[in-house]
Amino acid sequence: MAMSPLLDDDTTLFDVNLDGTSTSEDGGYEPIPAPKTKSKKPPPYSRFTQQELPACKPIITPKLVIASFTFIAIIFVPIGIAALSASNKVVEIEERYDRECIPPIYSDHILQYIQSVGTDKTCTRRLTVPKHMKSPVFIYYQLTDFYQNYRIYKSSRSNLQLKSKADEGSELKNCGSVQTVGDEPIVPCGLVAWSMFNDTYSFSVKDKALIVNKMNIAWESDKKGRFGSDVYPKNFQAGGVIGGAKLNSSIPLSEQDDLIVWMRPAPLRNFRKLYGRIDVDLEANEEIKVEIKNNYNSYGYGGEKLLVLSTTSAFGGKSKFLGIAYLTVGGFCFLFAIVFAIIHRFKRRDIGDTAYLSWNRSPVGYYIK
């Protein structure tokens, strides 16, 4: 205590802390604690406080390394093969129709064509079934370069309003410019609903129409929990600018499956959304005639539109990535296993090989590792 005057000028007693914790912990004077009358007992022994709990101490040995790589390879390759074959069994038909469905005369005035109410937007495409497609065959529409995940787009909705009629006017400010018509709230409000996809498809095989089943394309939780059965569309697309689809105002939102599907924003700019289901098998080489109402303005932002028919496997739709990834990782592990085995064969290191201890490697002035 009495020594502090010895400090030189050029040194500071108190460090400046980045974290700014108190510069003095012990706060100067400490009173002398009263002497304890009872003799202090030694700390009780327990394996916990003595840090002697039984422990498993895995160590990474060359054999363990080789074994784990091999093990991963053995697990991964079959999963990869299974995933690939599952993906291969999935039959998928992709048909891009955004260009083809513009009549040649409008090819220089695409926006005019698509925005005009009067033009006939029907377009017929014929698809050939490459392989037998077992029902259910899922129908998707796919949009590219559409940023449903763009923040101001995604959040332009009122969840309260969708859920119950009582809240029709709630959280409208989330909906930005698509809030009201006059003083009346728009139901459903916001950009998401406003820009809803509105192309329609009808299918026929050999002039016999295929029924498109729209049941269960939306999540049950949405239908039960998020979209109210007493909420009906109101003032929808009644504003100055028409966005996408119109809704039947006599059907409650909870029954508007297409809307519900659309209202689930996709995470990426290229996305598919479920349109419906065909509950009959499609035979190989059958020709499906699709009649498309090409309403949706994907031309404005330069995106593509695709129609997708696909069966599914346990792993979902057709996607080779999972299988390839499994095989790649498995393959690499196998390769590593071999490489390590070779290294181990020629540059053997036994478990606990003392030659590798730093003091045995360079006897003088060794470098501790």
Partner: protein, 1192 residues
């Protein structure tokens, strides 16, 4: 005696007690000081016995209650909050939390405010608890009672805090003084009292205080009814050793000096009671004023961690900048074409007409969003971890001292990991390394050395040689038999030679049993305190049968007469105890008593001995008249007494430093000089302190002539007095006859030798800071094995700034702080200072880590320290086990936290790229809240608290593992960068894999595609799995706790997702039914989690696999050895590696043993060559061959 160490400096000088010189007032020119009274700075007025006068200004002084609290109920919140937000990281989070309320926030305010409140709340809670304990301690102190005079004239119990200035108090034996008191009278008639100031300055000795004669009579309660006096004195100040004031009593003015002042926190001893008047109270007392703020210390690792945090901040700025620029570009060019957004150009963040403004706002937003790069919970989890680590340190039974019932205390927990990086230890000597207790160990009388010649180094060396040869023998079992037999015979030769070398010098032909018992005796605790001597030739009065008993008698007389000590009755046995100026003299007196020369009485001029008479073998009482005492001084380095025995013979008995004595020998006085000198050097190498004894017989005439000169010199007043005295002593202290030398050991504390040995093996350099003279310091250096004979010695003096790399430095002439600062500045290494007394406080505060010895009762060093140990030897375990562990734990913890937050935070950034930098977050707000706070925090804490790279035994067996911390290889920049890269890789793998797996096509058999919610939840699952499996790869020590925390955290995520999803959608938002309805039922979710987790960990796993195969770390190999139980099955190898690891150690006991073995072996190989040559040339074949005609 000669170097009264600092501890004894304050001790009562017993010689002065005789002359009562210590009771004479110090003449420090009191007159000039008295003139100051009334001047500024000396204006205090105290009305003794009239405390009521101090209730109003200007005499209203502060109350006697003392508060050490930092906060009060009112100031706690603002002050504690202020402290918290001085942390840069916390300030950043506060800023983001503030911004989160504005429209700029990408996430809900709760997401940002929640974790901040949690983290700051925990830290503040810790502050509050600590302050609460301080409050309780204050309460305890303030509520102590003391007898004080009440209005009615009675002395009643009063609480300390109620005592006010002017009160008269009565303090009883062994009570603490409640405030600074003016001593009025005591139970002794002369007004003397004894106080112990240990709590003030750490000195254990008693100090004498003495009241003014004028107030002596006030020694009864009743006498205070009429007592009134006024004290005028200095204002409150921190100086403990000065006091200026006077007392106006009965219209006379008496000057006061520090002798009359009793300081708060000192203790009344050996005095039944004292009366005193309160002069200073509470915060005005000298001890409170004197207390300095302990500087706050932060560990190197934490300082480096700050830099890592800065690095993360720069990363954060960089990706925010990328986001902001990207956003501006998008807004400017692409967005105008997106008709589905075109209605929203009113939003300032997406204003195509002003992209730069939008860009700036996006930048702010991004700073908030990517905040997950900064590990918000790191500081608080480190605080929790360190608190728990400190508890483990406190609870360690192996650091519990049975004798003092104290255990190690981590007084500040924020330096735990610094313990693992200590490179230089600055140690105080007395009381820290040594007990300040001398032991009589050896002596050389008339050319014979007594007390054995074996030292511990030799014993250890011989043991080692034996085990070595056994190991060698077993290892060459398989080799061809011819060489084997040769080697075996050679090694048996080694044994014999070693044995002989060890036992060389035993001219006494003891039988082998006695020899062995003597060997084993060496390490035993001596039964008699201060006497650790075994030699049958001298013990039990056997010396009388020796031919040179005259020398012996004189030798013992010097021991028994030439000193300043006094005997103290023991009461229990007929053996006496002694008090003397220095512990060495005590050791001599005890030794001479053991040899039959009991010094048992001293009067002013007479010293009485009970002597063993060699001729009769009986004890006889002899009186010696003390004629003169030529005192010891540091320049004289000797002390003499001139005595006259009962026969009238006059002797000068002298003891002193060997060089001084040897210079003053008579021509015939150095008969045994040669052998004595060789013994002397042996003793010195063993670290003993040596003194030479000599005598001279004086003729009466010669003495009287000299005595007149001497008396004249003594009575001379003036500057030439010293010179005259010097001259006079030179005249008589010559023509001496050498008797011999003694070796005393400055006894090291228990386990110090082993501890220093281990610390040296750990690569720690030990500096001994001592105020002793050079020779003593070197002695102690040898006895601690810090020095070896083959070392070059450096002597650091303060004036020279020597930056030396010598492993053990003996730095002389104290000024510890400056040395400490010098060492810190020049080496740039982590320093630890260890000491026990008030004189070490500066050093303890200045060093990176301060350690106080709490075994003694003094609290000063402990109060200033960061760790307190009951014994020096616990330093070994504290550093090598706990320090090593804590360093690794905290390092790994910080690195992992950095990794974890990058792995999580970067996925947010990647997603931003895919959303065209719109500033949206992929995860639900609650996922983000719980990530750092709940789902990943417990495994980190378990890593920080329970991780052990190797067990504590192995740490101690391989102290060189400690060098990992010295080189800081766990928290090196390459590792930091490596872990950042690992985090980037993990984030990239997780993100890309998920994007490709879940893009476009359905992810369930039911044909559903994943939306943002599901995509985010899946990605989040992958991250939780990856980071928790990653920590499982880091941890090398799994108890059930780690398993519970790691796998529990993973499980907790699913539980959380289930519980959260079960809430109504208004609350659960995007998480509604997520696990039960959508992702949980999709096999792809589980398969993808599995793939992504493995793939994200693969780079790290490959890295550690390559490392373990090609260049494993030492702890790794040792773990493997331990795993294969090789410490049991191949014990020889295990021991050999322990020794190999010490190879580069320069100092310490083992190094000394090594050096001894080396010198044996060198000698041996020379011998072997000669034997070999001889034996080869002696073989018949050789003879016949050389005698063959070919050679002729």
């Amino acid at each position: 005696m000669h170097e009264s160490s600092r501890r004894t400096r304050g001790k009562v000088r017993w010689s002065k007690l005789y002359s009562f010189s210590c009771l004479r007032p110090h003449t420090s020119d009191p007159d000039s000081a008295q003139e100051l009274i009334g001047q500024p700075g000396f204006s205090r007025v105290v009305f003794c016995n009239e405390p009521q006068l101090h209730k109003r200004k200007p005499y209203k002084y502060t109350s006697n209650s003392v508060s050490t609290k930092k906060y009060t109920a009112v100031t706690f919140l603002p002050k504690a909050l202020f402290e918290q937000f001085r942390r840069v990281a916390n300030l950043y989070f506060l800023l983001t939390a503030a911004l989160s309320i504005t429209s700029l926030a990408p996430v809900k305010p709760l997401t940002l405010i929640g974790p901040l409140v949690f983290v700051v709340g925990i830290s503040m809670l810790k502050e509050a608890v600590e302050d609460w304990y301080r409050f309780l301690q204050d309460l305890n102190v303030n509520n102590r009672t003391v007898k004080a005079r009440a209005e009615n004239g009675l002395f009643v119990d009063k609480l300390w805090r109620e005592i006010s200035v002017g009160d008269v108090v009565k303090v009883k034996k062994d009570e603490y003084f409640s405030s600074d008191l003016l001593l009025l009278s005591s139970s002794y008639e002369d007004g003397v009292c004894y106080v112990e100031t240990m709590n003030l300055d750490g000195e254990t000795s008693l100090k004498i205080k003495r009241s003014l004669e004028a107030t002596l009579h006030l020694n009864e309660d009743a006498k205070f009814s009429v007592f009134k006096a006024t004290t005028r004195c200095e204002d409150p100040n921190p100086s403990l050793y000065t006091f200026v004031g006077n007392l106006e009593f009965e219209s006379k003015i008496y000057p006061l000096s520090p002798t009359q002042i009793l300081l708060r926190d000192s203790k009344l001893r050996n005095t039944d009671y004292v009366y005193g008047a309160v002069i200073f109270s509470g915060h005005d007392t000298k001890v409170v004023r004197n207390s300095t703020m302990s500087p706050s210390k932060r560990s190197r690792l934490e300082k480096k961690m700050d830099k890592v945090i800065y690095l993360l901040f720069s990363m954060l700025l960089l990706i925010s900048l990328v986001t902001s620029i990207g956003s501006s570009v998008v807004i400017k060019s692409d967005m105008s074409q997106w008709w589905y957004l075109s209605l929203e150009d009113s939003d300032p963040l997406f204003d195509p007409s002003n992209p730069s403004k939008s860009g700036f706002l996006q930048f702010i937003r991004a700073l908030i969003l990517y905040g997950y790069l900064i590990p918000i919970s790191l500081y608080v989890s480190i605080e929790i971890v360190k608190m728990l680590q400190a508890r483990f340190i406190n609870k360690d039974k192996k650091m519990y001292d049975e004798a003092t019932c104290k255990s190690v205390q981590a007084r500040t927990s924020n330096l735990n990991e610094e313990l693992g990086q200590v490179e230089i230890i600055l140690s105080d000597k007395t009381g820290t390394l040594t007990c300040n207790q001398m032991e009589f160990r050896k002596c050389s009388i008339a050319g014979f050395s007594y007390g054995g010649n074996i030292n511990e180094v030799d014993i250890a060396a011989s043991k080692r040689m034996n085990t070595d040869s056994e190991a060698y023998r077993s290892s060459i079992d398989q080799s061809d038999t011819t060489s084997q037999s040769l080697e075996m015979s050679e090694f048996s030769v080694v044994d014999i030679i070693a044995q002989q070398a060890i036992l060389r010098g035993h001219e006494n032909a003891d039988n082998s049993n006695a020899r062995n018992s003597r060997l084993s005796d060496v390490r035993k605790e001596s039964v008699i305190k201060g006497f650790n001597f075994r030699d049958d030739r001298l013990m039990n009065n056997q010396w009388i049968y020796r031919s040179d008993f005259f020398y012996m008698t004189m030798f013992f007389r010097v021991m028994a007469l030439c000193h300043t000590g006094i005997p103290v009755e023991d009461g229990q046995t007929d053996k006496l105890k002694y008090e003397a100026e220095s512990p060495e003299e005590v050791a001599f007196l005890i030794a001479s008593q053991e040899f039959g020369f009991q010094f048992f009485q001293r009067t002013q001029s007479l010293m009485t001995l009970k002597e063993l008479d060699p001729s009769s073998g009986k004890q006889v009482k002899r009186e010696y008249k003390l004629l003169n005492l030529l005192e010891f001084s540091s320049s004289r380095k000797r002390m003499s007494v001139i005595v006259r025995d009962e026969d009238g013979k006059i002797y000068l008995l002298c003891k002193g430093a060997d060089s001084i004595i040897f210079d003053r020998l008579a021509d015939n006085g150095g008969a045994y000089l040669e052998s004595t000198t060789s013994h002397l050097s042996n003793y010195a190498e063993d670290g003993f302190r040596t003194l030479a004894f000599a005598y001279r017989a004086l003729e009466l005439a010669e003495y009287e002539q000299w005595n007149s000169i001497f008396t004249q010199a003594k009575t001379t007043v003036g500057p030439e007095r010293e010179e005259l005295l010097e001259h006079a002593t030179e005249m008589i202290e010559k023509e001496l006859i050498l008797l011999g030398v003694v070796a005393v050991e400055d006894k090291l504390q228990k386990g110090v030798l082993e501890c220093i040995d281990k610390l040296a093996q750990a690569g720690i350099k030990i500096w001994l800071l001592t105020g002793d003279k050079k020779e003593t310091a070197i002695n102690i250096g040898f006895s601690c094995s810090l020095l070896r004979q083959d070392m070059k010695q450096f002597h650091v003096c303060l004036s020279k700034e020597t930056e030396s790399k010598k492993p053990a430095e003996v730095a002389h002439r104290h000024w510890h702080i400056q040395i400490t600062r010098l060492v810190k500045k020049h080496t740039g290494k982590t320093t630890l200072a260890i000491g026990d007394g008030a004189n070490d406080v500066g050093m303890i505060q200045e060093a990176d880590i301060g350690v106080g010895i709490s075994g003694m009762e003094g609290m000063q060093a402990v109060m200033a320290s960061n760790f307190s140990l009951p014994q020096f030897r616990f330093l070994e375990r504290l550093l090598i086990v706990h320090g090593h562990w804590c360093y690794k734990r905290i390092s790994k913890m910080v690195l992992y936290s950095v990794y974890k937050n990058i792995a999580f935070g970067l996925t947010l950034f990647y997603y931003e790229i895919l959303t065209n930098f719109s500033g949206d977050s992929l995860y639900d707000d609650w996922y983000m809240v719980v990530f750092n706070v709940f789902l990943t925090s417990m495994p980190v804490i378990s890593l920080g608290v329970f991780e052990q790279d190797v067990s504590s035994d192995v740490c101690l067996q391989f102290p060189s593992l400690y060098r990992q911390g010295l080189r800081n290889i766990i928290f090196s920049w390459s590792r930091v960068v490596g872990w950042i890269l690992n985090g980037i890789v993990a984030a990239s793998v997780i993100f890309l894999a998920n994007v490709y797996i879940f893009s476009a096509a359905a992810f369930r058999q039911e044909g559903h595609v994943a939306d943002i919610t599901q995509f985010g939840a899946i990605m989040y699952t992958c991250i939780i799995w990856t980071v928790n499996c990653q920590i499982a790869l880091i941890i090398t020590h799994f108890t059930w706790i780690q398993h519970l925390f790691i796998w529990g955290s993973v499980l907790l995520w699913y539980i959380f997702a289930l519980a959260y999803g079960a809430l109504p959608p208004d609350y659960s938002q995007r998480g509604f039914n997520i696990l039960t309805e959508s992702i949980g039922a999709a096999p792809l979710y589980w398969v993808a989690t599995f793939l992504v987790t493995i793939a994200a960990l693969l780079p790290y796993f490959t890295h550690i696999a390559v490392q373990s195969l090609l260049s494993p770390m030492d702890d790794h190999i040792i773990r493997e050895m331990k795993h294969g139980k090789k410490d049991v099955t191949e014990n020889q190898m295990w021991l050999r590696e322990q020794r190999n690891s010490q190879r580069s150690t320069q100092v310490g006991f083992s190094a000394r043993v090594d050096a001894r073995i080396r010198s044996f072996k060198e000698g041996l190989s020379l011998k072997r060559i000669s034997i070999y040559n001889k034996s080869a040339t002696n073989t018949p074949f050789y003879k016949s061959w050389t005698s063959s005609p070919l050679f002729s």
